[in-house]
Structures are given as C-alpha cells and as structure tokens.
C-alpha cells in the first residue's frame, strides 16, 4: 500500500454560513462554504464586491465569531471559542489590512515591538528582532520614523513587518497592495511568498490586483457568498513543467497540458515505500516530480531492479491501458513527490489527444 504524506492542513473551513443583522434586516452573507488551505500555500481570493470575501477572512481571523459550520486553524476549532480564547488565537495570526493601521504615536520599531510584546520573545530580544524584521522589509534606515513621516508604501511595509515578526503560521491580508505602487507591491508579495516557503505559513490574500496573481498557489473565486472555483495555479504550472519533461506529454498543447495537470493530485512517499506493487490492479498513472524510485519486476523468485526513475519519470500506464494487474513494483529510493492521474482521467486524456496515444503505444511496445 502507498502511504501519501500530505502537507498539514492549516485552515479548514467547512459548511460555514454567516448572517448579518437581526429580524427583518437579517441578511445571509455566506452560504455553506468549504475551503482548505495547507501550510505553505498562498491562496488569493477574488470576487465581486459584496461577495463575502472579507466576511470569510474575518471569521478565519477570529475577528468575528463563527455562527454556523466549522473553522479549524491547525486543528483548533474556532466555533464556540470564548472571547479570551479568541484573543489568544489572534496572536497566532498575522493580519495585514488595506489601511496600514499603524499606531501614529509610535515609531516603526515601536509599532513592530507592540506585536513582539505579545509573544514569548524575551524582552531583551525585542529591539533586535524588530530591527531585523524591518531590515527584511527594506526599512532598516527608517527604524525611528513615525508613520506620518513615511511614504504610503513604507507604512504598509511596517504593517507587514508587524504582522510577520512573530512568524505567524497563518497570514490574512485584505487588499495589501491596493495602496502600493508596482514595485512596493511586488516586494510585499515576494515577502509573503518567502514566509510561505520558508516557514510553511498559510497565506490568504483578498485582492483585485492581478499583478500579484503569479505568487498564488491557488485562486479562489467567490460570488454571492459562495466559493465558486478553486484553481491550483502554482501546482498546475509546476505539474505542467514536469509533464513537459516526460516524453509522452511533450507534444501536447499548453491548454491540454493544463487540463491534465489540473486533474492530477500530489502524493508523497517516504524513502523505501512501495508506490505500486506488482500484481495489484492499477488505478492511477504516476509522474515523479521530485526524488528517485526504482522499478523492480519479480521473475522466478528474484526481484531485480529493471530501471531507476527520476524527476519527470512516469509509470503505471501499462496496467491502465491493458486493464491488467501491475507488472512491476516501484519503490521510492528517496522521499518522492509524485502527481497522480486517476484511470478515467488518464484514458480520457488519451482519447482526446492522438499523438499522446501514439506515444503511449510506442512506450508500451518498448516496455513489452
């Protein structure tokens, strides 16, 4: 049996409804929403004004109480938290608001320290940590400036430093780049990307700024209080790049490639795990994104290695095409990240793409 290791789910939204007002004025803003965000992911939320993006973000951020449904942050249920527990929960979240919301009377460093003072960081470290964070957003030379002496972009970067200084595992941002020029916007987004990549933070950004779509792992579109689409952009692009390395997919048009990629799911295997076993029935097609695996075929009691597969290597197609049991075992030599395509999707892709079919036939002939 394979044992996939999915990344931790940071934000799990299930069946969340939300109403504003009471009595006659009662109005539903969210309808049965579901959304999972994994650690390390950046999710961009878009949608027309009034579609409920902000409402969903404030619920996830424990700035509002969950009325119906469930929201879990790293496993902790938000529904039913007491106000004191909500306050404690907020300390684990970095908020970036459209308006910078800095404290006017405090310098950049003091603003950032305000967040540090809520953490376990020893007080002796506060100045150093605050300065390092401001350095990281390019404001090392503005430590002692008050907000009114900073440009709009600099203020927003101080706010971001404040949101990130405690290395939150969840970052929620509402239009963080709206007030920024192209370059500052790009810097901010790059900073968020680094936080997600290096520290495995889950980042949700509400934005209409399509200049920053490029950093997103996923784009979630909301309309009328519902999530209507959830596109895994970054992963899809990653899979396309890998698929392009495979001989079988080389000839596919970008749009067909994207269709295939979107149907694929990520699976992870630790070193030594058997990804498929000879003799089992085949249900999936595999493409290796990272790591190496060994193909073994049992013949007369011994199981010699017949091939080593690396990134871009694929396997599992024979059983699907011939509707036969697996003819070999594939074992991960290192931790392996693979993308899998279910049998039906694999056969569907095959049918719509002639050259793909030819390639596969050639492969089959080759592998016997």
């Amino acid at each position: 049996m394979s044992s996939p290791v999915p990344r931790e789910t940071a934000i799990a939204v299930a069946d969340v409804d939300h109403h504003y007002g009471a009595g006659e004025a009662r109005k539903q803003a969210l309808f049965g929403n579901r959304l999972d965000v994994r650690a390390g992911e950046i999710v961009i939320m878009t949608g027309p004004s009034g579609s409920g993006k902000t409402t969903l973000l404030t619920l996830i951020g424990t700035l509002r109480s969950v009325q119906a449904g469930s929201i879990r942050l790293f496993g902790t249920e938000l529904a039913g938290l007491s106000p004191a527990e909500q306050v404690r929960m907020r300390r684990q979240i970095g908020f970036i608001f459209q308006a910078h919301n800095l404290l006017e009377a405090l310098t950049a460093r003091q603003n950032v320290k305000l967040a540090l003072e809520l953490s376990d960081t020893p007080p002796a470290e506060h100045d150093r940590r605050a300065d390092a964070m401001l350095e990281a957003v390019g404001l090392g030379h503005r430590l002692h400036y008050k907000p009114r002496h900073l440009s709009v972009g600099q203020r927003q970067r101080v706010a971001i430093a404040r949101a990130l200084v405690n290395r939150p595992r969840i970052v929620l941002a509402d239009e963080p780049t709206a007030a920024l020029d192209q370059e500052s916007g790009a810097n901010v987004v790059a900073l968020l990307r680094r936080l997600a990549d290096d520290q495995g933070a889950a980042v949700m950004i509400v934005t209409h700024d399509n200049r920053i779509l490029g950093v997103a792992d996923r784009i979630v579109n909301m309309v009328d209080g519902r999530v209507v689409s959830d596109i895994r952009i970054r992963e899809t692009m990653l899979i396309c790049a890998i698929l392009k390395q495979c001989d079988v997919f080389k000839e596919m048009s970008p749009s067909d490639l994207t269709d295939v990629a979107q149907k694929m799911a990520e699976e992870r295997f630790p070193a030594g795990a058997a990804i498929i076993r000879q003799g089992e029935s085949g249900e999936k097609f595999y493409v290796i994104a990272a790591g190496r695996a060994e193909v073994r075929r049992t013949a007369e009691g011994s199981a010699p290695a017949v091939a080593i597969l690396g990134a871009g290597g694929f396997f599992g197609e024979v059983a699907l095409l011939r509707d036969q049991p697996r003819n070999a075992t594939v074992v991960a030599l290192e931790p392996v990240v693979a993308y899998t395509l279910a049998k039906a999707d694999f056969l569907g892709a095959l049918r719509t793409h002639k050259s793909f079919e030819d390639q596969i036939s050639a492969q089959l002939f080759h592998r016997g």
Partner: protein, 376 residues
C-alpha cells in the same frame, strides 16, 4: 504591554494634552484656592481661642460666636473659682473698637482683647511677658499683623482708641485675617475705661485652667452642676469646633468656599472627560488594531486609564506650584493664614485622581466600540 503607549499618545498630541492639562490645572488650582481659604478660615475664625491657654471656657447661654459674644455676670467666675479641680479662672473681655493713628490720622476697626494684667493666659510667652507693660491705664499692646489701615506706628507712639489717647506699650503678632482689621490687648481696667464703666460687672468669657492631674471632663461636670443656667461650660476642643462650624456651615462665606470647590471639581472632571473621550474616539481604529493583534480588552482599557492619569498628574504639578505662589501672595497681602501643608496637597491630589477615575470610566465605553472586524 511594555510600550508606554498612553505616554507616547500624550506627547504625540501635544495640543490636546496641553488643553487637558491646562483645563485640569486650572480646576485644581481653583480647588487649591477654595480649600486654602476654607482651611485658613477654619484657623482664622478660632484665632483668638488658639492663642489662649485654657482647658475649659465659660460663656453666656446666648453665645453665638466670639465677636458676638453676649456678656454674663462676672460673679459666675468667682463661683467657678471655688469648684474643686479648678486651678485658675481668668476673666476675658472682648469687643470691637475704633482705631485712629494719632500721627497719620489713619483710622480702622479691630478687636480689643482684655485680661487682667497679672494673668498670663496667652500661649505666646512674648505676650505674657508684655502684660506687665499694660498695667498702667490707657496703655495697649498692638498687633503687628494689623492691616496697613492702621497706618505707621511704633511702640512708644500714641494711638487713639475709641476716642481716647492710649500709649502703645508693646506689640505682638496674631493677625485677625478676615475677622477684622487688627487687634489690641489691654488690661481689664483700661478696657473698662475705653469701652464704658458698666463692663466692670461683666465678662465675655471665663477661661478655666484645671489643676494638674485633674480630669477635665469631671471638672466641667462639676462646674455645670455648680453654675446657674445662664452660662455654659465648654471644653477647648468644643468651643473651637463650634466656632468653626458657625463660620463654615452657617455663615455664607464658608458655604461659598465649599460650593466653589464642588463646582471646580465638577468642571475639572468634565474637561478631563471631554478630552479623554475625544482622544479615545480618535484612536478607535488604533484600539481595534490592538485587539486584532491579540491584546485583551483589559489592556486597552488600561491605556485609557493611564491616559487620564497622565493628564491628571501633569496638571497637578503646575497647580501645586501656582497654588503655593498664590497662597504666599494672599498671605502677604491679607495676613490670612494660607498655608500649603502636606494634608491639603494630598487632598487635592486625591481629588485629581478621583476626577481622573470618573472621566476614565465615562469615556471607556467608547473603547468598547473598537471592533477589530471593522478593520478589513
């Protein structure tokens, strides 16, 4: 929160802080002045009693206050003198008189105090020592703290008291403050000459000193049992309290000071509330941000309370200094016993803190409206 945010907020809004501190300072200064006058009046109204050495006092049943003390038959003093436990009974006479400066012609009013020339009943040894000097008739000791209306005079000059030339045989320091313009001390014989011979039969007060070791209350009871109903026996503390009560709670002057204090207090609290509330209002967004960062509501209320405290304490300093200055000026101009003691400084500081507490509590409800969900 380690960052002293309330302090930074105060310096960041120097104009608002100055308005709060200025308004509060003024209110506190008013309270200082009213309290000062009230306290000085308390001392002032009893100034004569406070200068005399006695344990018990005998006065007429019709007695209202010392300047308006009904006289009684001096025979009562003889009756009192034989009561066991009484060491000494001194006849005390007082009435207002007219002063005219023989050299300059300045004229003014004042109180004439009279005791027998051989009775050292004053607490101030300087006065007791000089009583011998007023043994000859038509001689007097004059209060150096009498108002400038007395004109320039020196010991050895003559002054005209109630129309009769009198030798100034000595001087002392007492000060009548608001009661009247000045005072003189004479012998009982001179008093009868200056105020009219029928005073020979009366006394205004009998000052009783009990024998060493005798119980004051027991002696008072014995005196009451012995003396007819036309006189009353009171202890030193009783008569001083009665004198102060008459002035502070019955006469409009005392009531005026008290009302003034209440008004100044209310005005100070109102000013502080206004400014604190507008400060809180202007910073609602910042408070909401603090809530979003994960600060509990209590920390944010704390900022409001600290802000009030900062205003109150900043206002207290200047008010204290100004009050000390004004007290001094008033003391020098009127001889009124205005003193800035620790008790009064503490009392006004306490009032400032109460003002701050009231204003803070009233303005804190605004903070409750700071909603972090409104930031997105």
């Amino acid at each position: 929160m380690r960052t002293p945010l309330a302090w930074y907020n105060s310096i960041e809004q120097p104009r608002r802080t100055a308005a709060a501190v200025g308004g509060m300072s003024f209110a506190l200064l008013l309270i200082f002045m009213q309290a000062g006058f009230l306290g000085a009046a308390r001392t002032n109204v009893a100034v004569i009693y406070l200068a005399l050495d006695f344990d018990l006092v005998i006065h007429s049943r019709a007695y209202l206050t010392l300047p308006r003390s009904e006289p009684f038959d001096r025979l009562r003093l003889n009756q009192a003198a034989v009561v066991p436990g009484v060491a000494r009974v001194t006849r005390f006479l007082t009435d207002s008189f007219g002063w005219r400066n023989a050299a300059s012609g300045d004229s003014a009013g004042g109180f004439m105090l009279a005791v027998p020339a051989d009775a050292p009943v004053f607490l101030d040894p300087e006065i007791n020592r000089q009583l011998a000097a007023v043994r000859p008739t038509l001689t007097a000791l004059v209060d150096r703290k009498s108002r400038p209306g007395y004109g320039p005079w020196r010991v050895g000059d003559k002054a005209v008291l109630n129309g009769q030339p009198t030798l100034i045989a000595g001087s002392y320091e007492l000060g009548m403050g608001l009661l009247t313009e000045g005072s003189v001390i004479v012998s009982d014989e001179t008093y009868e000459r200056l105020q009219g011979p029928w005073h020979g039969r009366i006394a205004n007060l009998g000052l009783v000193k009990v024998a060493p070791g005798a119980d004051v209350a027991a002696v008072a009871d014995a005196l009451r049992a012995k003396l007819p109903q036309d006189v009353v026996v009171a202890t030193r503390a009783d008569i001083i309290r009665r004198e102060q009560n008459y002035f502070i709670n019955v006469k409009p002057v005392g009531i005026m000071f008290q009302v003034g204090m209440v008004v100044a207090f209310a005005a100070g609290a109102a000013i502080l509330y206004q400014i604190l509330a507008s400060e809180m209002n202007n910073r609602l967004g910042e408070f909401a941000t603090l809530k979003a960062l994960g600060y509990p509501a209590s920390a944010i209320y704390g900022i409001g309370i600290q802000q009030g405290l900062i205003y109150a304490l900043l206002a207290y300093g200047p008010a204290l200094l100004l009050a000390a200055g004004f007290y001094r000026v008033a003391r020098e101009l009127s001889g009124f016993p205005l003193h800035l003691d620790l008790g009064r400084a503490g009392f006004v500081l306490g009032l400032a803190l109460v003002m701050c507490a009231i204003a803070a509590v009233l303005s804190l409800w605004k903070i409750r409206r700071a909603d972090p969900a409104s930031l997105f």
